[in-house]
């Protein structure tokens, strides 16, 4: 018993935690590998950035300056 709970409970919880981190690390590694492969990450970032700046531009130019109209 540990903290009035069977040790096997803590063992399961620790195993669960280790497994959880392993899954997260694996997922992160896969994501990182995919991002590096063929410049996927860079392309994704560039696309997102361009889309965002495009949106910014569209919103900004929705109302032109009086002298530019």
């Amino acid at each position: 018993m540990k903290n009035n709970i069977p040790v096997v409970y803590w063992t399961f919880r620790s195993a669960w935690t280790v497994l959880h981190f392993l899954i997260v690390l694996t997922a992160a590694a896969v994501l990182f590998w995919w991002a590096l492969k063929d410049g996927n990450g860079e392309r994704l970032f560039e696309t997102a950035k361009n889309d965002l700046l495009d949106l910014q531009h569209r919103v900004a130019s929705a109302i032109p300056w009086p002298w530019g109209a």
Partner: protein, 544 residues
């Protein structure tokens, strides 16, 4: 007129200037808002990423007890209260409810842990928004940081729900594997005992079960575990409510724990429930010679078993006393004392180890007063479940023999059984019939005692104790014809024996009670015997 025109021009110029200023302002605001939108999108993404990371860290913190939200614990008391495993187990144990023990982690505690993780996620997100809405001035803070917090909430829940479902999936897989383990271990335990025909027959309350109860091995703990078989409380071991680890199979528990009768909660000999039990109920009138027969027979049985490299060991204080008293009576050539009348006499359990087999022999010796009528024999429940019955008949109590004793002036020299022998037989058999207990599956031994005295009377010389038919014929010829016919109708398998339980007689002598013990052993298991050949020939076949 000119003045009015001037005013109009001034007003129009003012309106145009105002319109121009508003336009410029709105255009400027829109441009600023466009960048605010970019800021919101970036902070939403950052908040989402932070939420994902929080969702990764949060479950371990809860599981390790470092978060504010503590998992509810599935305690043994909750198990007993039916809050963890349901109201009651299935099968025989349903009458006792769940034992006071810790449930296995998966899925019972795992579910509670997972729910605590969800509760902690809710608490974290709620407290984050609580912090934001407590800032002053609230509208400004909300306008700037709300997307970041929304991103954080979405990220946290995405991460936590992914964890929840993934762990649920893995937990389900682990649960399936554990269930296979439960099934395998449970089947192995059950089949091992079934192969041995193992049961627990309580020598005190006479009830029979295949699932004994066990006391926790912790001397300070009073918990009795009624169903230790593999299940939701443990697969190989279980953890008692006091924290002590105990085995989770009947076979293993019997080796390490004190066995308890689940019906009367009395301690029973170690290992009960893991070996076959052979009850030897002896029926007969007062003074028929039941105890003398058992004493003489069991002492010789012990001797013969030892000669065959086996052993006969008493496993209860009552059995030790009985064996010692019997040995003393046989060696001194004296008579054993009459059995005191008890409503429910305790059996005499002995472990017989012979030819690599182990059998628990239970000598069930009730006083003759128990066989006076139905009501009295009703308490002797062991008769109902026994496969072999031994009816002790004092031939001197037959009216014709009693008269011969008187004529030959031998009455008073030997104690004669009281009452009609058939009445004691009827007190048991009529009750069994009335209770619809199948007699056809039972074997009956009719044992004539005091044959040494009988053979001194005229007309009894032609009883051959090695021939059951001659005993049966003698009974029919000497006033017990109706009794023999009745026995033939009641039982399919009947054997007749003639014994002399009193005095020292060689075990190979066909009059020795050990011949009956040998028959009982052979009837139970043909590979178990202590005599080189059968002493009696079965008679009365197929009359039922």
């Amino acid at each position: 007129m000119e003045e009015l025109f001037g005013w109009i021009l001034a007003v129009m110029a003012a309106i145009a200037a105002a319109f121009f200023a508003i336009w410029v302002a709105v255009a400027a605001i829109v441009r600023v808002f466009a960048w605010v939108l970019v800021f919101w999108a970036v902070t939403l993404a950052i908040g989402f990423a932070v939420g994902i990371l929080a969702g990764v860290v949060l479950p371990p913190r809860v599981l390790l007890g470092k978060a504010k939200e503590k998992p509810e614990i599935a305690t043994p008391d909750d198990v007993v209260a039916g809050k963890v495993l349901g109201a009651a187990p299935k099968g025989q144990a349903k009458h006792f409810g769940w034992d006071r023990a810790w449930p296995v982690y998966n899925p019972y505690q795992a579910k509670r842990d997972a729910n605590a993780v969800l509760a902690q996620a809710k608490r974290v997100v709620r407290s984050a928004f609580g912090w934001l809405f407590d800032m002053d001035p609230t509208p400004a803070w909300v306008a700037v940081l709300l997307p970041a917090f929304v991103g954080f909430a979405i990220g946290t829940w995405v991460s936590i729900l992914a964890w929840y479902f993934l762990m649920g999936l893995l937990g389900g897989l682990v649960y399936l594997i554990l269930q296979i383990g439960v099934l395998a271990n449970r089947s192995f335990d059950r089949l091992t005992r079934r192969r041995k025909k193992a049961t627990l027959r309580c020598a005190k309350c006479y009830r029979v079960t295949t699932t004994p109860s066990y006391r926790c091995s912790n001397p300070q703990c009073s918990t009795v575990h009624h169903d230790v078989r593999p299940g939701p409380l443990g697969i190989v071991h279980r953890r008692c409510g006091c924290g002590t680890r105990i085995p989770a199979t009947v076979g293993a528990a019997a080796k390490h724990l004190v066995t308890v009768c689940p019906f009367c909660l009395q301690d029973v000999p170690k290992g009960s429930g893991t070996r076959r039990v052979l009850p030897m109920p002896v029926i007969g009138a007062v003074g028929a010679g039941k105890t003398q027969f058992l004493s003489s027979g069991v002492v010789e049985l012990e001797k013969r078993v030892k000669q065959l490299s086996g052993s006969l060991t008493p496993i209860s204080p009552v059995a030790e006393t009985f064996l010692k008293t019997a040995a003393a009576a046989v060696s001194s050539g004296g008579r054993v004392a009459k059995t005191a009348w008890e409503d429910r006499p305790e059996g005499v359990p002995l472990i017989l180890s012979l030819s690599g087999r182990e059998l628990e022999v239970q000598l069930m010796d009730a006083a003759g007063e128990n066989f006076v009528d139905w009501e009295r024999s009703q308490a002797l429940g062991y008769i109902d479940t026994a496969d072999v019955l031994i009816f002790i008949l004092d031939p001197l109590a037959l009216p014709q023999m009693t008269e011969l004793l008187r004529v030959t002036n031998k009455d008073g020299t030997v104690p004669v059984a009281q009452g009609d022998p058939e009445d004691s037989y009827a007190s048991v058999v009529d009750r069994l019939r009335a209770e619809d207990i199948r007699l056809g599956s039972k074997s009956l031994a009719i044992v004539l005692t005091k044959v040494d005295v009988l053979q001194t009377l005229p007309g009894a010389e032609w009883i051959d104790p090695r021939d059951g038919d001659s005993i049966r014929t003698w009974l029919r010829a000497n006033g017990a014809d109706g009794f023999v016919r009745r026995v033939d109708q009641d039982f399919k398998r009947v054997s007749y024996f003639a014994v002399d339980s009193y005095g020292k007689r060689d075990g190979m002598d066909s009059l020795h009670p050990v011949q009956v013990f040998d028959w009982v052993l052979r009837t139970t298991d043909p590979r178990l015997f202590v005599m080189p050949q059968l002493a009696a020939v079965p008679a009365g076949e197929g009359a039922a």
